[in-house]
Structure formats: C-alpha cells, structure tokens
C-alpha cells in the first residue's frame, strides 16, 4: 500500500516534518533510526499475511483471493511433513499431519497446482521452509520454467535459515555443515541467476518464540547472519554481490520499548559489522531490512479476545521500530489455526496502526528519547557479549563459533533457561499476564468457533500423490536421484542443478531429501532440558 499525500498533518491539522531530532538521520549510516530517509511516508510497510492450508488447490484459491484484493505478495505456509522433508504417504511420520498446519507439497505437480493461473513474474512469493528449502526453490523455478518466466524475473524470499533450526525451531534434516553447503550452493545459484530472489531470511522469530530474551534474539540472529556471510565469502562470493539480498525476520513481543530498542540496535550492529568486519561498501549491503511478526507465544488461550490488544501494541512497536513488513497474529492462535474472521481482524489491526494512529507520518518518532536511546544501547551491549562468546568459541570465526555452540548445546541451553525463568516469574506472580495469573474473571468461555482441517484433506493428498507416482517415469526418477547423490559427494558441484532436474522428473520431496541424507546423514538432536 502506498501513501502519496503531499502534506502530513496531525489529526487536528498540525503539519509535521518527516523526521525530528539530530543525526545520523534515518537513511544515514548506521541506520539506527531507519533505512529510508522518510520511512513510511513514501511507502508503508508491506502487510504480508501468512497463509496455507489443506491441498495446493485450496491454498491456490486463497492466493487468488489475495491477488484479487490488490495484494502482490504471497506467503506460503507448508504442512509439517513438507517442512521436514517427508512425503504425505510416509506412514511413520506423516499420518495425521498432512495439510493440517499448512499446505502439503510432495511433487512438482503440487507446486503447479499451488501457483496455477498466477503470473510468477508479477508477484513476489515468500516460502517459509528450511530443511528441504532447496527442493521447494527448485520446484518454484520449475513452475516458472514451464510457464516461460525467465529465472531473473522470479521474485521472492525463501526462509532457508537452517542455523536457527538447530537453536530453536528444530526443523532440520542434515547436520549443520552439509546444510550450510546446500545454502551456499543456493546463494551462489540465486546470485548468478535470480537477482530478485532473497535466498535466506535470517530469523530471530523462532528463537524468541522458543523462549529467548530480546537480547538473545538479537544476538543469536545477527550472529547467524554473520555466519552466513562468512560461509558465502568462504564459498568465493563477494560480499556486495549477495549481502543486499539477505533479509531478517524478527519477533515483536510485549515489552514495548525493549522491542523498539532491539529493532534499532539490529540496524546499527548489522551496518557496522558489515562495513567494518566484512568489507561491504554498497549501501544496500549495510541495511538491515526485516519482516516482523507479532509474538505468537504471547497469545493466551484464556480470554482469547484480549489478544487483539496485545497484537495491536506489538504491531505498534514494530512500526515505531521501522519494520519493512509485518504479519499480525490472529487472536485465536493460542487455540488453533486462525479462522477467517480472526485473520481479518489481525490485518485490520495493522491497518489501524498504519492509517489512524499517525505513527507512519514521522520516521523514528521515538529517537532521542533518553530511555529509548539507552535501551537501544543496552540491547547492543548485550548482543555484543553474545558475539564475544561465539567468536571465542570459534577462534575468531563467527561461523565456527556458531557451529560449536550448536554442537555443545549452548544456544538451546540458554533459550531453555530464559523460557524457564519467564515461566517461574509467571508462576510466582512477579510477572503479570492478564487472564493467566491475574484478572481471570471471564476465563470460562473460549474456543467455540475454531478452524478445523478434516481428514478428507489427507485422503485427497494421498490420492494425488499416488496418481503422480503412477504417471511418472520411474527410471528417470532413479537416474536423477542418483545424480543428486553424486553431486552431494562432490563439494565443487552446485546441488541446485541436479535437484531441479529431479523435481522436473516428479521425484518427491521425500525421495530427494532421502537421497541427500544418504550422503549427508541425518541430524539427531542431543536432548537438552
């Protein structure tokens, strides 16, 4: 959504400037106050709402609806089997989970259905998938190839942030080092062929949801970002050739000013490190661009309607913190996937922040506030302590430090400690959560109108997969899977190419991931409580 007004005034008609206070101003290094000089005046944040359910045909219908209503960005949620590299017909792992928490995508045929009658050169697509990201991207490219869309016109983002999977979300397949090889192959491929594609979205969101503090979210996420930069540089890429397509994804939780300080500190740290440590020179390489989602973990099952107020405040923090795009959570998400009404209220909530509150009229309106500046500095200081620890673990290498801290359970241990501390504070009453440990009158009524995905989806998807498997050339499939294995054994090969070939032969996601696991092995987490 774009705003083209010439003059910005308060509700009472008082004219306001685009920015107030001292420099460095928004748009100036180190971008603490924002990455654009006039921030939301020229362009509001993108209201990108995450969707996906049932079969590819179901989600395709939702996508077309979004496009009919003027949306240009699609955001895809996959179901658990797809996120874990398992096919819908995997009897051990997939039964009961197909199409439930997102859309099921087994073969290229599902990706064809997902984007049927959608012009891939005219939309930007976000795909939230990590472990099997290379297979999902290959399928998207293949759909584009079929439709004659040149690869350099494909625009979008694939989350593909494997490091935070070992730390928080746990949707990994292979061990860290081979996973990193896959990611650098994807970075190399997109840098050469897909200039409008963002190959990694470095995500603090899940780290925070797993229990991290704001400072840990900031420190762990940026450390992961530096690790990707070091991996790409080690793979021979020049920093200014790829850094401008790295983007971030943060959480907006309930402590209003702490969140704003975190967002401001993220921009400052990223710009400083990219310039000083990694030698980036182009302005776009220095700018920390990020998507924000309100904190799902803050939503309460008790009195779910009051979550609307929480989401509004968290959305406001994201706007005042200078986010580039925003997903607002639906109030019923502590109970189930959102109903359509709840999702609409969530979108309306950020529209109110954007259009009614005046928050978008002035860039970094809280900049210069003694408390906001102090907490920004404090977030930066606490993140620096994390960087110091990781650099020490890695003997000066952030990449090695992150590997080591994954291996020795440091990340998961710190996150579990923070989660437990928070829970104890709620338990002993030192931290009030409205409706949970205080103000509980009215807790008796919840969960009437919930979205349910029925068993029919799973049956339909199983039939779909069986039909595709029957129609394909099995010999071609095994040949191309063998080629994937061969390339996996040779680090000088780029895995994107054989994986694209395999999806075009309608090899399933599970088959391709298994082929890679034959060479790379599977990661098994050492349980840390």
């Amino acid at each position: 959504m774009t705003s083209n007004r010439d003059q910005f005034t308060t509700m009472s008609g008082v004219p306001v400037d685009p920015v107030y206070g001292e420099g460095p101003l928004p748009g100036e290094f180190p971008y603490t106050r924002g990455i654009h000089p006039d921030m939301y005046r020229s362009r509001l944040w993108t209201m990108r709402m995450f969707a996906g359910f049932g079969t590819a045909v179901d989600t395709n219908g939702r996508f077309k609806e979004i496009l009919r209503h003027g949306g240009t960005g699609l955001s895809t949620a996959f179901d658990m089997p797809t996120l874990m590299g398992r096919d819908s017909d995997d009897a051990v792992w997939s039964t009961g989970e197909v199409g439930r928490a997102g859309v099921a995508v087994d073969t290229l045929a599902d990706m064809e259905d997902l984007f049927a009658d959608i012009d891939l050169s005219a939309v930007s697509t976000s795909m939230t998938i990590n472990g099997p990201a290379i297979v999902a991207l290959a399928k998207y490219i293949a759909v584009g190839d079929q439709a004659g869309v040149p690869r350099d016109q494909l625009s979008g983002t694939i989350q593909n942030d494997i490091l935070k999977e070992y730390q928080a979300q746990k949707e990994y397949i292979y061990p860290p080092r081979p996973s990193m090889r896959i990611i650098t192959d994807m970075m190399r491929f997109t840098t050469a062929e897909m200039p409008r594609w963002h190959p990694v979205s470095i995500s603090g969101y899940h780290i925070r949801e797993a229990g991290a503090t704001a400072a840990q979210e900031l420190g762990f996420t940026l450390a992961n970002g530096f690790a990707y930069v070091e991996a790409a540089q080690a793979a021979g890429l020049a920093v200014d050739d790829f850094a401008n397509r790295l983007s971030f994804f943060f959480n907006s939780h309930s402590d209003f000013f702490e969140e704003i300080g975190k967002f401001r500190a993220a921009r400052r740290i990223w710009a400083t490190w990219m310039k000083q440590r990694y030698g980036a020179t182009e302005e776009r390489s220095l700018k920390c661009r990020f998507h924000t989602q309100t904190a799902g973990v803050s939503l309460t099952a008790q009195q779910p309607e009051i979550n609307i107020a929480r989401v509004a405040l968290q959305a406001m923090a994201a706007a005042l913190g200078g986010t580039q795009s925003l997903h607002t959570d639906a109030y019923d998400e502590a109970l189930a996937l959102p109903t359509e009404k709840a999702a609409r209220i969530a979108l309306r909530t950020q529209q109110i922040v954007a259009h009614e509150t005046g928050a978008a009229n002035v860039a970094d309106p809280l900049g210069g506030s003694p408390y906001v500046e102090w907490i920004t500095d404090e977030m930066e200081r606490r993140a620096s302590e994390i960087f110091d620890h990781l650099l020490e673990l890695g003997n000066g290498s952030m990449l090695e430090g992150v590997y080591e801290a994954v291996d020795n359970g440091w990340f998961v241990g710190r996150i579990a400690d923070s989660a437990y501390r928070f829970e104890r504070e709620v338990n002993d009453g030192t931290r009030i959560i409205v409706g949970v440990n205080a103000f509980t009158e009215g807790n008796d009524n919840n969960g009437d109108n919930l979205l349910r995905i029925d068993q029919a989806t799973e049956d339909l998807q199983l039939k779909r997969l069986a039909t595709v498997k029957q129609a394909r050339d099995d010999e071609a499939v095994s040949r191309r899977l063998a080629a994937v294995r061969v390339a996996a054994q040779d680090p000088t090969k780029n895995l994107m190419l054989p994986v694209i070939d395999a999806v075009k032969a309608y090899a399933t996601e599970g088959e391709i991931c298994d082929a890679l696991a034959d060479v790379f092995g599977r990661y098994v987490e050492q349980a840390v409580v």
Partner: protein, 173 residues
C-alpha cells in the same frame, strides 16, 4: 536408539534470580513433594513429543517443573514414535507418560499411544499438554487420556495432574 536426558528430582529452587520468595504456588508444591518423597520413591515420568512438530519449549519447562516437584524425568524430547515411547516406559519402569502436542495432531496421536500401551500390556497413565481445543478434552478423556494441560498451567497444576493421573485412574483402565 534411545538417548534420553535424565533429570533427577531436586528440592532446591534453580534459576530463581529474584530474592523475593512468594508464599504462593511453588511453596506448596515443594511441600507436597517432600511429604510424598518421604513415603515412597519418586514418580518417574517419561516426557516426549510424538510426530514431526518441533515446539519443545513447553515440554522443557514441564520437565523442570516436575523435577522441582521431586519427580524423576526421563526426557526423550522430539520426534518420538509410539514405539520409542513404549520402549522407554518399559526400560525405565516409568509411572506416567507426558506428551506435548501443538499442531492439532492430538486426536490422531492419542488413540495410537493408548492402543500401543494396551498392546504392550502396560497400565501407565498419559497426560497431554499443549494446544488442545476445550471441546476436544472430553473426547480425549473418554478415550483414556488422564488429563489435559493448557498453556499457562502453573507448576502446581502440572504436578497435580501427574499425581492425579496415578491416584484417580478412570475405571476400566
């Protein structure tokens, strides 16, 4: 295949960075626990997540809550199958199974674990924690789940649900 993490029962209060000692839930939980532990060996609880879902924050918090309530936790963690849970229960001579569910799989997964327990001839109660719609709780308890805990349940409620599952088993189990 099993590599669980063991949490031995403890009566101290770890990780409390506040000097403030409220006389609320936690106190009574440790009190009950110490009374109980004088009379009998600690309750042994297997904690696991079935299936693919990776949300383990709640399960880890529950592990520490039960430890603080003087129980012994056998933490299996993520990506367990009914077989691996049953194997752990047999191997560890566990008293209770705690399962965490966050992605709407409870109506499919609960009958499977209950059937597997019956097949193995085990009489071990199952407590479920996580995101379960209110309207599914009756269905789950009717099929034989001992208790369902929601996000926001206190340490006392968690410990009581585990103890209750041993003391007040539904008839017919």
């Amino acid at each position: 295949m099993l590599s669980p993490m063991y949490l031995a029962a403890t009566s101290n209060k770890p990780l409390s960075d506040s000097s403030h000692q409220p006389a609320s839930h936690q106190e009574s939980a440790s009190h009950q626990a110490s009374v109980q532990s004088q009379n009998q060996p600690p309750i042994r609880v297997v904690l696991a997540k079935l299936g693919l879902d990776g949300h383990d924050r709640g399960l880890k918090v529950v592990a520490r809550m039960l430890r603080d309530a003087s129980m012994e936790v056998i933490y299996l963690g993520l990506r367990q199958t009914t077989e691996s849970v049953i194997a752990a229960v047999e191997q560890e001579d566990a008293d209770v199974i705690g399962l965490s569910m966050h992605n709407a799989g409870h109506l499919a997964l609960a009958p499977r674990i209950l059937q597997a327990l019956r097949d193995a001839g085990l009489d071990v109660p199952v407590v479920i924690g996580g995101i379960v719609p209110e309207s599914d709780i009756a269905t789950l308890t009717e099929m034989g789940i001992s208790a369902v805990l929601h996000p926001g349940s206190s340490a006392v409620e968690v410990a009581e649900a585990v103890r209750g599952s041993l003391g007040e088993q539904p008839v017919g189990k």
